[in-house]
């Protein structure tokens, strides 16, 4: 067991500054209005730094810097751009422990996740897009003997990115890597719940990027996010969040006639067919872990497997084992490497989860384990902790239909394949899903029939670069994590060239 020292304590691998300004044009710039807001850690609820409270003036300044840098960066050779991304990856890797502690303190998630997932995935993401941009080729279409269409990919220019608070660094990297690889300059607004860890990263990599290529403006959605998303000077907006803000961003984009990519969450079904329980073997154990994945990152994942559908013939036994597995989840100090579940990211998130547990009980769902706020004592009493919770109920209940974004799974049964698919698809969303079966045909068919952009088959919560990630239905538009994301950050330029010396003969 290791427990990392908290930032600010002696022996800590990371020190947060007392204050962070905006990162604009390669340097730190105070907010135009001179205001800052306090940033608490969800681990204890105590404030540990203050952050620039950005406004339209700061967004404009960042857009100036980005426009100043966009042309040069877009003209930089793909080899040089890829080299920059690879150097960023190397720098993150060399400082992985420091960034992991910073991220855990910022977000509340357990250190074993930031060490094993968030930061290694961020490293690989930069390397992946460094690779795909080198391998990208334009196209040539020979229309006829004398007419040739050349297709070039060109960067969009300056793009806006609005980052969520559940994976503050990784979600920023998911958006930065393809945008930078494609040759764009970026103005990025972190979530106001988690505004600080990105600056630990920016300070680490600032010397690797030409000034103005990446700009970070902090602040509240209404004061900084809106001026950015509605600006006439951005060529595209990328957003991860919820549906109402997603619609508002599309509305602003429609005024400017620019594209958006949106990732707006889900209510992902995790489907366990009866043959999962044919043996009590390694696969059965893996399936139980797959069930318990709802507790990963405290359930604050857009693809949280928050609906478990279990075939009725194995329902009681499997669910009993799954509840036992859930009860074995170790809740504790997020900086302790033995801790499996940490703190919810903010007080309002905690309150929302508790309000959902309340309506779940009112609707008659049965709490099989958990169902309460967790008080872990000592300094953690001020933090935001929820017990891993298993509800048993019906798919029409609100807890089956809304992303609680907490460590709460709602369980129901199904009779056969058709019943499973009917329930799995009875949702507004279609981001993720899980299918568990020893029968490859059943797993394949279910995977194809579930209306979701990512279906994990006999695994869950893996997010490798090179596997497209994005939503069907109301879960959004676009596919991240894959080469296809370059298409969302590039224009197609067509040069249509005639090699004929002769007039057409029309005029």
């Amino acid at each position: 067991m290791t427990k990392y020292a908290a930032p600010g304590q002696s022996g800590s691998v990371v020190t947060y500054r007392d204050r962070y300004d905006h990162f604009i044009g390669g340097e730190y710039v105070p907010p135009a209005k001179g205001e800052y807001f306090a940033n608490p850690t969800p681990v204890t609820g105590e404030e540990f730094t203050e952050i620039a409270r950005g406004t339209a003036e700061d967004v404009d300044r960042a857009l100036d810097a980005a426009h100043g840098a966009a042309r040069g960066w877009g003209k930089t050779s793909v080899a040089d751009r890829a080299n920059v991304l690879n150097k960023i990856a190397d720098r993150i890797e060399a400082n992985l422990e420091m960034l992991a502690v910073a991220e855990t303190w910022e977000n509340g998630k357990p250190i074993r996740e930031t060490l094993a997932a968030d930061l290694p995935l961020a490293v690989d993401h930069f390397r992946y897009f460094a690779g795909v941009i080198r391998a990208q080729e334009g196209g040539i279409s020979q229309i006829d003997e004398d007419l040739v269409a050349y297709h070039f990919q060109e960067p969009l220019g300056v793009v806006a990115q609005i980052i969520p608070w559940n994976f503050p660094l990784l979600m920023a990297v998911w958006k930065l890597a393809p945008a930078l690889a494609a040759g764009n300059a970026v103005v990025l607004k972190p979530a106001e719940q988690t505004p600080a860890s990105i600056h630990v990263l920016m300070e680490l990599i600032a010397d690797l990027l030409p000034p103005g290529v990446v700009n970070v403006v902090n602040g509240f959605g209404v004061e900084a996010g809106k001026p950015l998303a509605s600006s006439r000077r951005v060529a595209k907006v990328a957003f991860t969040g919820e549906t109402t803000t997603g619609r508002l961003i599309m509305q602003y984009a429609s005024e400017n006639i620019i594209p958006v990519t949106l990732e707006l969450g889900g209510k992902s079904p995790n489907v366990f067919f009866s043959d999962v329980a044919a043996e009590r073997d390694a696969f059965y154990d893996k399936a139980l872990e797959g069930f318990t994945m709802f507790a990963l990152n405290q359930g604050e994942v857009c693809t949280c497997p928050s609906r478990a559908l279990i075939q009725s013939s194995i329902y009681s036994d499997f669910l009993g084992d799954a509840v036992s597995r859930t009860q074995a989840v170790r809740q504790g100090h997020p900086l302790d490497t033995e801790t499996m579940i940490g703190a919810q990211a903010s007080n309002d998130q905690l309150e929302k989860i508790l309000s959902y547990i309340d309506i779940g009980k009112q609707e008659g769902a049965r709490v099989l384990t958990g169902g309460e706020r967790a008080d872990l004592g000592g300094e953690l009493s001020g933090g935001y902790y929820v017990q891993p919770t298993v509800f048993e109920g019906d798919n029409k209940m609100r807890i089956f239909q809304e992303e609680i974004f907490g460590p709460v799974v709602a369980v129901t049964s199904f009779s056969d394949y058709d019943d499973a698919l009917k329930t799995a698809n009875d949702t507004l969303y279609g981001l993720g899903a899980g299918v568990w079966s020893r029968d490859g045909s059943v797993a394949y068919r279910a995977g194809r029939d579930i209306q979701a952009g990512r279906v994990w088959v006999n695994n869950y919560h893996a997010y490798p670069a090179h596997a497209a990630f994005g939503g069907y239905k109301q879960s959004g538009i676009g596919r991240e994590n894959h080469r296809v994301m370059l298409d969302h950050y590039q224009q197609t330029k067509n040069l249509l060239v005639s090699y004929s010396p002769n007039a057409l003969g029309f005029f």
Partner: protein, 116 residues
């Protein structure tokens, strides 16, 4: 029967927001992150349309704040009554209250047979 209500604390916050932003509206969000939050905007900022349901109007003193939800979401929420409350918090999309260190939150109860 009314489908939406307001706590006194939320009404106080609406008074403050109206003083700085003018007429207001709510649109109930869904999805991840700050999903499930009632988003408060200047009236007309969020364009509602045929895909939305008008759940009701919240009366605060002499002004009225309409509450909207997407029609698709309403199909799954229609059996519940929503009370808009407020808690200390941070951020909820572009909702107006976030810079005040507060955020609106919905508390739900089942509609009884007379209300349905």
């Amino acid at each position: 029967m009314p489908r939406v209500a307001l706590t006194p604390e939320a009404a106080d916050l609406l008074r403050r927001l109206r003083a700085s932003h003018g007429d207001l509206m709510f649109h109930q969000s869904g999805g991840c992150c700050d999903g499930s939050a009632p988003m408060c905007y200047p009236a007309g900022e969020f364009r509602t349309g045929a895909a939305d349901v008008h759940l009701g109007d919240l009366e605060v003193d002499s002004f009225v704040v309409p509450v909207w939800m997407s029609a698709a979401q309403f199909e799954y929420w229609s059996h519940t009554h929503l009370t808009i409350d407020v808690v200390p918090g941070r951020g909820s999309g572009f909702s107006l209250e976030a810079p005040l260190g507060m955020r609106f939150l919905v508390r739900s109860r089942l509609l009884n047979s007379e209300e349905l």
